[in-house]
């Protein structure tokens, strides 16, 4: 054990000192009343423990092989490397906020003062909103004026809530570690910003370059982050999906960046069904579900697990591309229902029975939907398609599409008198 302690000395200097299991004597001052109380809880645990170390070894601090083995027998794996654990043993476990750096402490003072000011603003603003709501409509200057005023004030309140927490290093750290609580506005704001930095750009590029946007819907401004999984494999927007893989309905991860719950309609459309008689393309609805609740914390939607008697209008139909047909774009749209009111499921089910040529534009107009999220995958003929076609009883499985010969223009000698 001595050798690893010696070796860990340089590591000690650069290791994180955020190890929050504080020494028993050290008192934590919780300056952040509005934050989650994780620190205080851990402190309480640390104080309650008075058992000697070798009796109840800590998986984050244990270094001797015997104790490690004992822990492993209990089913607890030691955390990190042995060298790291040894370094942590000797580290003075000062919490991040109390690190003794002068400039840092001065900066923290500024930030804490600013946060208190913002909190005062928040209470003032919410009181103001309450006062305006109490005022009768006639005195406030009409329905429209009052509404717009309230709306603007609420937006400002949301903005203030974000401003109060955005300068907190621990919030930043938690978000980067993926432990952010998305029920709080600050984490939702950070997640939204991160999504817009890269993933949304990719999505918008794919759906515009592959012409989903003018072909399937006239316009879409994605505001929810949508991830699509087939058998636990995430599909990037526009990826080709094997026919065998897409026989089962996908799972969705729909991340909403606003508070509250929303009811959405989920539709999967194939916009490239070849129609030889028409010499063109048809639409086909592969999946349609209404009244799906999503919120910032409940993001997982399994399309095969939705209830068939209150949500699923058209169950999943595996997409297949006929041999020789150009690739099929399977576009998934998350459509927000108006005012988050549930649609009448029985009426929708009675109306939308036909899969073929059920246009998303029609749906949008009929039920007042608004596209808030999109995703896209593609399918083409591959070695498993034929079997999938047999399974689902595709009518023309053994028909292939071949290029039609375009008659060449007749040879015409152009203006022979000018030829020399």
């Amino acid at each position: 054990m001595a050798h690893c302690e010696r070796a860990s000395k340089p590591l000690l200097q650069c290791l994180q000192k955020t190890y929050t299991k504080a020494l028993p004597g050290l008192q934590l001052q919780s300056t952040r009343a509005f934050q989650s109380t994780a620190l205080a809880r851990e402190e309480a645990q640390a104080e309650a423990k008075s058992v000697p170390f070798h009796k109840a070894p800590d998986p984050a601090l244990v270094t001797s092989p015997q104790l490690e083995r004992r822990l492993l027998r209990q089913g607890i794996a030691p955390i990190g490397s042995r060298r790291r654990r040894a370094a942590l043993q000797n580290a003075s476990n000062i919490p991040f906020e109390q690190l003794p750096y002068q400039c840092f402490q001065e900066a923290r003072k500024v930030l804490v003062a600013d946060r208190e000011e913002k909190l005062r603003d928040i209470t003032a603003m919410s009181e103001k909103i309450a006062r305006l709501q109490a005022v009768p409509t006639e005195e406030a200057g009409g329905e429209q004026v009052k509404k717009s005023k309230l709306r603007a004030m609420e937006l400002h309140l949301e903005h203030l809530k974000i401003l109060a927490d955005i300068n907190d290093p621990l919030v930043k750290k938690k978000f980067e570690d993926g432990q952010g609580d998305l029920s709080k506005p600050i984490y939702r704001y950070l997640a939204d910003r991160k999504w817009r930095e890269y993933r949304r750009k990719i999505l918008v590029q794919r759906i515009t370059q592959m012409k989903v946007i003018p072909d399937v819907l006239p316009h879409c401004d994605p505001t929810v982050d949508t991830k699509l999984y087939f058998n636990r494999n995430q599909i990037q927007p526009g990826e080709f999906v094997n026919a065998q893989v897409s026989t089962t309905a996908p799972k969705l991860d729909v991340q909403l960046f606003e508070g509250g719950e929303k009811l959405v309609t989920i539709a999967v459309v194939d916009s490239d069904v070849p129609n030889v008689e028409k010499d063109g393309f048809d639409f086909k609805m592969h999946y349609l579900a209404v009244n799906v609740p999503i919120s910032a914390t409940a993001t997982k939607v399994d399309l095969s697990q939705l209830s068939t008697d209150s949500q699923v209008v058209l169950p999943w139909l595996p997409p297949v591309a006929q041999k020789g047909s150009p690739y099929h774009r399977l576009s998934l749209f998350i459509l927000e229902q108006k005012d988050s009111k549930p649609l009448d499921f029985a009426a929708v089910k009675a109306k939308e029975t036909e899969r073929d040529n059920l246009l998303p534009r029609t749906l949008q107009a009929r039920y007042h939907l608004k596209a808030i999220g999109a995703h896209l995958f593609r399918s083409q003929w591959d070695e498993t398609t034929y079997e999938v076609m047999k399974q689902i009883g595709f009518p023309e499985a053994d028909m292939e599409l071949r290029r039609k010969r375009v008659e060449p223009l007749p040879y015409k000698r152009r203006n022979p008198s000018t030829f020399r």
């Binding site: 994180q16 955020t18 991040f96 400039c103 001065e106 930030l111 290093p169």
Partner: protein
């Protein structure tokens, strides 16, 4: 301490860079420089390596990449700024606090200017309406002809800055 290669030593000598301590990352620079730039002892005046000197060796790699690598791993280049997690967070905290402080200062300045302007405007309004002479005094005071003309030329009424103006003296200017 590792002795510098002759080229580097002469460079350092020319630019008067004192080389008394060992370079910052001796191992890494050693490896990379020996492959690209450090000449071996018998050919001390040539900077090309033996392989690339031969005519038969075809593609010598991108020159820009070579130069970038050379300057990045040069022993005189300061090492890259790398922070541990907590140190980066501390740095970020200080940065945010400084930005906040500056923004507050700017805002206070703005508000002060606004206050001054508004109080001046209020005074003018008072002069126009409350003086009892039908606003004559106000109108007279608003006439700006001759302001700065007989005292200091208006061209000199620039914002006071730390340093002098870019062109020190306006020789073109003449009192008209």
């Amino acid at each position: 301490m590792r002795p510098l290669s002759p080229v580097l030593a002469s460079l350092a000598n020319v630019f008067r860079i004192p080389i008394t301590r060992a370079p910052v990352r001796p191992t890494l620079t050693n490896e990379i420089l020996s492959s690209t730039s450090t000449p071996t002892s018998p050919r001390s005046f040539s900077t090309t390596s033996a392989l690339s000197k031969r005519k038969e060796s075809g593609y010598r790699g991108d020159r820009r990449i070579l130069l970038i690598r050379y300057f990045l791993h040069h022993p005189l280049t300061p090492r890259p700024l790398r922070f541990s997690r907590t140190r980066f967070l501390r740095h970020w905290t200080i940065h945010r606090a400084w930005n906040l402080y500056q923004a507050n200062q700017r805002r206070a300045h703005e508000l002060e200017l606004q206050r001054q302007w508004q109080s001046m405007q209020a005074a003018c309004e008072e002069l126009r309406t409350g003086a009892g002479d039908g606003g004559k005094l106000f109108r007279k005071s608003m006439i700006k002809t001759g302001v700065f003309r007989d005292l200091v030329p208006i061209e000199y009424a620039r914002l006071q800055t730390e340093g002098p103006a870019r062109e020190g003296w306006n020789f073109e200017w003449k009192r008209d």
